[in-house]
């Protein structure tokens, strides 16, 4: 048992994690005829809490409660993995990325997320505005406009061989490349990194 815990406590390689994530697709289909997609949960929260008479949020969200339970599960899973199965060592990121990020002022690898960015102290600062408020807004607005995120389009959509999902995924990547290579550095300079 201890050996097992030790083994699961190491970071998992891509060829273990990827297939496990891929298996979520048939698991949801077979367990309840559900299509894998996570960003829809954000829409259901809107429909549940602030529909405001908007047609886009006027539907029977109770029928989609499974999706909300699924994301609550993800949150619990994050807690379980971090509390009981977490890897004691610091995260091993490629040296090239480390030197690129050092130039942006990010050097702390003690957690999965850089504490220089993701801390409550940053909330009411320009850093918080960019990384939490604007970043989150773009994720929520963009995924809904695109009709899905990495799970709904990149994994579920491409898995079911639907070309619109491939188009969406290509544009996710284009947006990400543009932000990372052109916009992130000036943006981080402006907010004080």
């Amino acid at each position: 048992m201890n050996e097992f815990i030790e083994w699961v406590s190491q970071p998992w390689p891509w060829y273990v994690a990827g297939p496990l994530i891929g298996l979520t697709v048939p698991a949801l289909l077979i367990l309840g005829n559900k299509t894998f997609g996570i960003s829809s949960s954000l829409r259901h929260v809107c429909a549940m809490c602030v529909p405001a008479g908007i047609p886009f949020f006027t539907y029977n969200w109770k029928k989609e409660i499974w999706n909300l339970l699924f994301v609550i599960g993800i949150l619990i899973g994050g807690f379980v993995a971090t509390s009981y199965l977490s890897n004691p060592e610091i995260i091993k990121i490629s040296e090239a990325t480390q030197s690129d990020l050092a130039a942006l002022g990010i050097t702390d690898y003690s957690s999965l997320l850089p504490v220089e960015i993701f801390s409550w102290q940053n909330l009411f600062t320009a850093k918080g505005l960019v990384f939490f408020v604007i970043g989150g807004f773009l994720v929520g607005f963009g995924t809904r406009y695109a009709g899905g995120c990495t799970s709904g389009h990149a994994i579920m959509g491409i898995s079911s061989l639907q070309w619109p999902s491939l188009v969406a995924t290509i544009f996710f990547m284009i947006g990400g490349f543009l932000m990372t290579h052109l916009l992130l550095e000036p943006l981080m300079k402006i907010v004080g990194f």
């Binding site: 599960g73 994050g78 490629s94 970043g135 807004f137 990495t150 990372t180």
Partner: protein, 163 residues
Amino acid sequence: MKVIDKKTVVEDPNCVAPNLREDHDKGLELLKYVILGVLFGIVFVKAEIISWFRIQEMFRLQSFHMYGVIGSAIVTGIISIQIIKRFGIKTIHGEKINIPTKEFRKGQIIGGFIFGLGWAITGACPGPLFAQIGSGFTVVGITLISAIAGTWVYGKFADKLPN
């Protein structure tokens, strides 16, 4: 054996995860989705998919890790769906499995691009946001609220945006 016709259901273009079960899941039956979510969340953390650093590595093309994860997930998904179709596998409730068709819209380009910008800032797509919060980065709760606000604003102006 009858293969599943994927044209049978045309989804609501704005909802990628529609519930196609004929009868509703009730009570404890819903617990299976929580359990599946927990397993999924554990994989997210254990493979460091929720890490902002890993997303930076991916967009800087400095590691194969994320490409390996997403690529092998897609391959597994393709094989699984092909098996489901070829063998006419049904749900545990005996229903025919329906996979909705996605219609092409401009939103997949414009919205996809906008999401990409946000993905590189937050280091998270919607799934990892939840796992990051569970991992103790409670401030990501603000990012999540902001993402919900973004979704709401899209819904409010959906009919005025090019689509």
